[in-house]
């Protein structure tokens, strides 16, 4: 994309035109930069999904199956009977407009069909026309629309322009959850082969290799070993990789981006340093090598299919309980879906911290604990020796990721950890944090490069809040507990709040952690000089 400067992109009018919204036509060609490429045939074929083919949204012919309309209508009928949420959300919206300016994509684009109420109406108008008596009789007057190919194309554009962040649901007087509606719309589109590659390739990879990135077991091991060697160079501490080890007490599940790309890798070694410090009896798995679950952005059946391997592997390895790393949508699945779909996990034991004796009774059934719960409990019980000043070069703020905030409520633990391991912590404005938090605009499979303009637009509210914290408090580090965030927030910050870096929470924990037998530390995990050591590092660099 030819990048527009921020001052130009922010010229947004949030007042919709006076025209009728019911015209579905979209010119995909002229809107490049705001939509995602379709799924490659090989991925659909591998997964056994319908209608694998080569096609492009920019062309007229989308190569839909001949019976596409019946398939979609039958799909709606089936889901109305299976999901009370869907049926209810189709019926009870009063179009009060409370949600209208709560969506980051609307705020950043001014496109009125990004108002959550209207995004839902795209589907609701079909529901009214085909499934309600008033709609069948009164048609347009009852707010109904005919299901046409143009409508389907409009769905593709707008339901792959929702990150399922649930922010609108917070403000809705009936709790109507656009994420739920988007999930249904995507399920329906999947029935006729309308899906995006940034979702389906990770799904296909995950099914086959165990992780979204398609990393095979030998490479998994190489990556882990390589990262631990790099860590040893910085800290002088040797950590033996723990992979597929039967009989370990804890199975540690992480998003694959953590052992694949910066800055997630620093969070990854951060976790492992903490475990080494503690002497935790844990193992990683090369098979269950993905905590994330792009099934969430595909269909409920796909969530279950990909999530299957977590309990399956826990049982095979004979662990007692499961610990999960920093990842947003992964935790929506682990918290709200896993136990229902693939439980009960009656072969596991009540998660108990071996170091503090704390029983995590809030995870009594799933047997899976969030790393921030685990670490904040350690800190509360003074189990970690820390040098907070090692994080003094950072002026830190915290981005609440959508799912831990609005599908779980994990708000205090990461803050407790951050306040415990660094001296300079500041909050962003109240309307942009905790349950009000704004999405990175790259979740739900939209974090691809071809969609960059829309990501930057949707990233405006978050980016603007970061800029505010940067200008007011001198914040230079945006921390988060989500792997997608760690991938999508850096370009967002570069654009809207230049000079702010992105990291995970456990990277800062490891920076501050006083390991036995470590070198005298002059750099952080990234190999960048600590506060007060800048000159020494420069000398060393010039010596070399």
């Amino acid at each position: 994309m030819a990048e527009k400067p921020a001052s130009e992109l922010i010229q947004i009018d949030l007042n919709p035109p006076k025209t009728d919204w019911r015209d579905p036509s979209i010119n995909f060609e002229s809107r490049r930069g705001t939509w995602s490429y379709p799924a490659l045939a090989k991925n659909l074929t591998y997964l056994g999904f319908p209608n694998p083919r080569e096609w492009s949204p920019a062309e007229d012919d989308w190569k839909l199956p001949p019976n596409w309309k019946e398939t979609i209508l039958e799909g709606i009928r089936e889901r109305l009977l299976k999901y009370r949420s869907f049926h209810l959300f189709m019926d009870i919206c009063v179009r009060c407009g409370a949600c209208a300016d709560k969506c980051h994509f609307f705020i950043g684009s001014g496109d009125p069909k990004n108002m959550p109420v209207l995004r839902a109406e795209l589907l609701r108008s079909i529901y009214r026309r085909e499934f309600t008596r008033t709609g069948k009789i009164l048609k347009q007057l009852a707010g109904g629309r005919e299901l046409t190919e143009e409508v389907l194309k409009e769905w593709y554009y707008y339901f792959f322009q929702c990150t399922e962040c649930r922010r609108c649901s917070v403000y809705c007087p009936y709790g109507i959850d656009t994420a739920d509606i988007t999930m249904m719309a995507r399920e329906l589109m999947n029935l006729v082969g309308l899906n995006i590659n940034w979702v389906m390739e990770p799904v296909a990879n995950c099914e086959r290799t165990g992780n979204h990135l398609g990393i095979q077991p030998h490479t998994f091991k190489d990556n882990v070993e390589f990262l631990l060697e790099e860590l040893e160079d910085v800290t002088g501490v040797h950590i033996e990789p723990q992979i597929n080890r039967k009989g370990a007490e804890v199975l540690f599940i992480i998003p694959s981006a953590d052992y694949f790309a910066d800055p997630g890798t620093f969070t990854f070694v951060g976790y492992l340093m903490l475990f080494e410090y503690l002497g935790l009896d844990y193992t990683l798995s090369a098979y269950a090598s993905e905590g994330g679950n792009f099934g969430l952005f595909t269909s409920h059946d796909t969530i279950k299919r990909l999530n299957y391997k977590i309990y399956h592997e826990a049982k095979r390895l004979g662990v007692k309980w499961i610990l999960g790393g920093e990842c947003g949508h992964m935790w929506r699945v682990m918290h709200q879906y896993m136990d229902t779909m693939n439980g009960p996990a009656d072969f596991l034991e009540m998660p108990t911290s071996p170091f503090t004796g704390t029983v995590f009774s809030n995870a009594a059934s799933t047997k899976m604990v969030h790393i921030c719960e685990f670490t904040s409990d350690l800190l509360r019980n003074n189990k970690l020796k820390l040098d907070k000043s090692r994080n003094d070069k950072f002026r830190v703020t915290f981005h609440d990721s959508c799912n831990p905030s609005r599908a779980m409520g994990l708000l205090e633990e990461p803050r407790y950890v951050l306040r415990s391991v660094c001296n300079n912590f500041f909050e962003m404005p109240e309307n942009t944090i905790r349950e009000h938090t704004f999405c990175c605009a790259g979740g739900a499979g939209l974090g691809n490069d071809e969609n960059m303009e829309m990501r930057l637009r949707g990233g405006l509210p978050r980016g603007n809040a970061v800029k505010w914290a940067r200008d007011k408090y001198g914040v230079n580090l945006l921390t988060c507990i989500c792997a997608i965030d760690r991938a999508t927030l850096p370009p967002l910050c570069d654009y809207w709040a230049p000079g702010v870096q992105v990291s995970g929470v456990h990277e800062l924990v490891a920076n501050a952690l006083l390991m036995e037998g470590e070198n005298e530390r002059t750099t952080d995990l990234r190999g960048e000089p600590l506060a007060g050591f800048e000159a020494a590092e420069e000398e060393e660099a010039s010596d070399a």
């Binding site: 009728d20 709200q336 708000l411 205090e412």
Partner: protein, 331 residues
């Protein structure tokens, strides 16, 4: 456009009632048959819709969590916005239904382009208007019980005297009558003048407001302009409740219009967005506890899906696993 169609529809309804009574002399039909049928449709329709919703299972426990969840004992949890048990859920639902808790969070977003700034401005107008409208409607409905119950219960008299505390006019003006109409007018004005709300509004959104306004206005005119004989109204209503209907005599046209508009509203309700009234109680993002990890939620149709098993994975990557020195389950 949508506003016009609905206005015409409501005007047409009023005209039908007017003609039926004044020209056709169908007082029995408008005064007895129509409300009777309307009430039956209302009850049957609501029941049908609620049963249909209730028959659809809730496969997943998907509350929208707002505030801290219950985890470690030393971390304070937001038990009313992120409830961990039944007690909290009841509290959350009560706040939602009685005080429109979620709407209270509303704010308005402004993008100030030349300063590159996104602003959040507190905005409680919608909440205030919604509260004013719904609460005054509830009080008005309760006030109407003086027609339904004989002798008039003390709580109805108490509501009446508080509502009429201004002691202005004969008969006394009730505060809720004014608030009800004013709130409706505000909600209607939003649909016309707020560009976002205008854009999303359907004909049915205006229709609901016009119907309610018609009910309110006819009621107001009947009481304060036509000064209807209350005892006659009471006799007519007693006819309904005792199932020995009588054609009301000694009441003016406003009575019939009022009854007809209420009937139209009752009939419309089960087929419209006004279903949010029973619907709000069933919303799975609000009425479930966020105790997912502590207590298993069962999906009655949980499909028998098995993913790629470890054994299949090991077989597929056998050579690479061996080369990388993994120990295998099946040597």
């Amino acid at each position: 456009m949508g506003g016009m169609v609905s206005l015409v529809a409501v005007a047409a309804l009023a005209a039908v009632a007017l003609l039926a009574v004044e020209v056709g002399d169908l007082r029995f039909v408008v005064g007895v048959v129509v409300p009777g049928v309307a009430f039956a449709v209302f009850l049957g329709g609501i029941l049908y819709r609620v049963v249909r919703w209730a028959r659809a299972p809730v496969p997943f426990r998907i509350p929208t969590t707002i505030g801290q969840e219950k985890t470690l004992p030393w971390i304070r949890s937001a038990n009313l916005d992120n409830p961990s048990g039944a007690f909290g859920v009841w509290g959350r639902m009560a706040l939602e239904v009685l005080f429109f808790r979620s709407l209270f969070r509303n704010h308005k977003v402004e993008v100030v382009a030349d300063r590159e700034k996104v602003n959040y401005v507190d905005s409680k107008y919608l909440w205030a208007a919604a509260m004013a409208f719904h609460w005054s409607m509830l009080i008005i409905i309760l006030r109407h019980f003086r027609f339904f119950i004989e002798p008039v219960p003390r709580w109805v008299l108490a509501i009446q005297s508080v509502d009429g505390f201004l002691q202005v006019g004969v008969p006394v003006f009730y505060v809720t009558s004014i608030v009800f109409l004013a709130a409706l007018l505000y909600l209607l004005a939003r649909r016309f003048f707020d560009p976002k709300v205008r854009y999303i509004s359907l004909p049915s959104d205006y229709l609901a407001l016009y119907l309610l306004l018609a009910v309110g206005i006819t009621g107001f005119l009947m009481r304060h302009v036509e000064k209807v004989d209350i005892s006659q109204v009471k006799a007519a209503v007693a006819g309904w409740t005792s199932l020995q209907p009588v054609v009301p005599t000694g009441v003016g046209i406003m009575y019939f219009l009022h009854v007809f508009m209420v009937s139209a509203l009752l009939v419309y309700l089960p087929f419209s967005k006004l279903l949010h009234m029973p619907g709000v109680f069933l919303s799975p993002t609000r009425n479930l506890a966020n105790n997912n990890r502590a207590r298993r939620h069962v999906n009655p149709w949980n499909p028998p899906i098995v993913g790629h098993t470890y054994a299949q994975w090991e077989e597929e990557f056998r050579d690479k696993l061996v080369a990388a020195g993994y120990s295998l389950d099946k040597e």
